[in-house]
């Protein structure tokens, strides 16, 4: 089981990877989304906010997210560190996503571009 801090660190690593990729920032200029990241086995909620291509990470839940990403803490930490792809836990049901299919696919694309295959 990962801790809340580990999930925070994984999201910060994700943010750092994102910020290093200028192309990705340009690509996401028009994709303004609020994403809730929620762990099922520990008290842990984070908000990822994409606005004008900039990604910010905040502890706590937003009021009205566009996308909700729910999974166990281990999966979330591994996922945002890029040690696993979102598709694997998604296909076996460990990772649950709530939101538009296009947004879900976009989030996977971003993860792919930050961490590679």
């Amino acid at each position: 089981m990962a801790t809340h801090k580990e999930i925070t660190n994984s999201l910060l690593a994700f943010q750092e990877g994102y910020n290093k990729n200028k192309k990705l920032k340009i690509m996401n200029r028009d994709w303004n989304r609020v994403i809730l990241i929620k762990a099922t086995d520990v008290e842990s909620e984070h908000t990822l906010k994409l606005e004008d291509g900039e990604l910010s990470v905040k502890e706590g839940a937003p009021e009205d997210p566009d996308l909700v990403v729910t999974s166990d803490s281990e999966t979330l930490a591994d996922l945002f560190y890029g040690d696993i792809t979102p598709t694997e836990p998604y296909m076996n049901g460990t990772l649950v996503l709530k939101g538009s299919e296009d947004d879900i696919v976009r989030l996977d694309f971003i993860s792919l571009m930050i961490w590679g295959e």
Binding site: P65, E88, Y90, N92, I104
Partner: protein, 451 residues
Amino acid sequence: MALKKVLTLRTVVATSAGLTLSSSTFIAAVQVAGFLAGDAAWLAILTGGLLCITAALCFSELNGLIPSAAGIRLYYSRAFNDHLALVVSLLYMAVILGVIGAESYVLSEILHEAIPLIPPMAWILVMFSVVTGMNIIGIKIAGWFQDAITYGMMLSLTVLALMALAKVDFHLTAPLVTGGTANFVNAVAVGVFLFVGFEWVTPLAEEVTHSKLISRGMLLAIGILSVTYAFFTTAMTALVPREVLANSPTPHLIFARTLLGDAGVPIMLALTLAASITTFNAGLISISRFVYASAREHVLPAVFSKVSMRFFTPWVAVISIFILGVVISTIVLITHRYLTLVNMAAAMESIIYVLAGISVILLRKKMPDAKRPYRVRGGYVIPGISAVVFSVLAIAIFITFPRVFICLALGILLSSLYVNHVVPVLKRRHQQKKAAARRRRPVASAEKAGD
């Protein structure tokens, strides 16, 4: 937690029905009528619709239990095992690609009839290029457009059917004469094709507020389609001799021409284009996303997960599907064996419904306490009926069309070989690569040691 954007029941119904309505369905409708002696096509279609409702109820329970765009892949994986889920999913996608091939062939024949100067192959290339271009650039058909096309299409087909029935002063003379049980079973089996794709709406589970909307949407779509198809098929066969319709890949065009003269051609052309564009586009999007997701899961080679930095779309997957689609369409164009693909889709769809029925039963045993927003009433009766009846229908298709059986058996064999021998290699390679570049553990371990 409320999501900002959610879909309405109207769009769920339109999506479910819209994915089902295609040019190939008219061919299947004529085939249904061809099996029967009297005017009993309506009965076979309504029976097919009723049976599909049992499958829809099963999908509703599965979708509520596991609301995921992964759909059958996840349902079957939980109910049976990942191996079977993968074999079936790969084969299903291949069959859907075949349906798109048949669809593009039918559409190209219609366009060729309307504008004879341009050969069907050119139309196939144009259609595939347009849809592939749309998918690469990332242009999507808007929800309102899907709604307008689907409801407009169903209304137009009903109006045309009523006009035709009025024109011939139609009276049901032999509404229950089927020509024997075997004929009726075959008609219902092929009739299932008319509803192929209604369950493709389940990936929207993540975009609705309540999973019950998906259930209601599917049931309403099947109900509306059953009535529309029953009317239209009865009208087609009442107006035009069955032999004429059965020998053509464009029976609906013949019907429109007979009903409205030359003015019927552009009307039916517009309707067919409307019917095809949604199926065609949705089919290609589904398959290319499946290919991309499979590559991300290391089930297919990693090259298929390449994403365009310009358009944010899986361009390798999209172009691969374009090539495969054009190849299949060309083969259909040369061999004229579009009916094999239609029947193959009907059989495959029956197998999918059999597995859905069994999945409901197995998951109730494996996950008895899991939250089910929707539970099929009557215990195991409806899932059981779905599993048994669709097994019979699949067998009926295999007996009547042995070529379909051979093709699907070959497909299962190839898919199994791939899953057994290639997928483990791809996964192993990925694991080795990932283990060397693992980011989290050293950090996590260091922190824990520090604690």
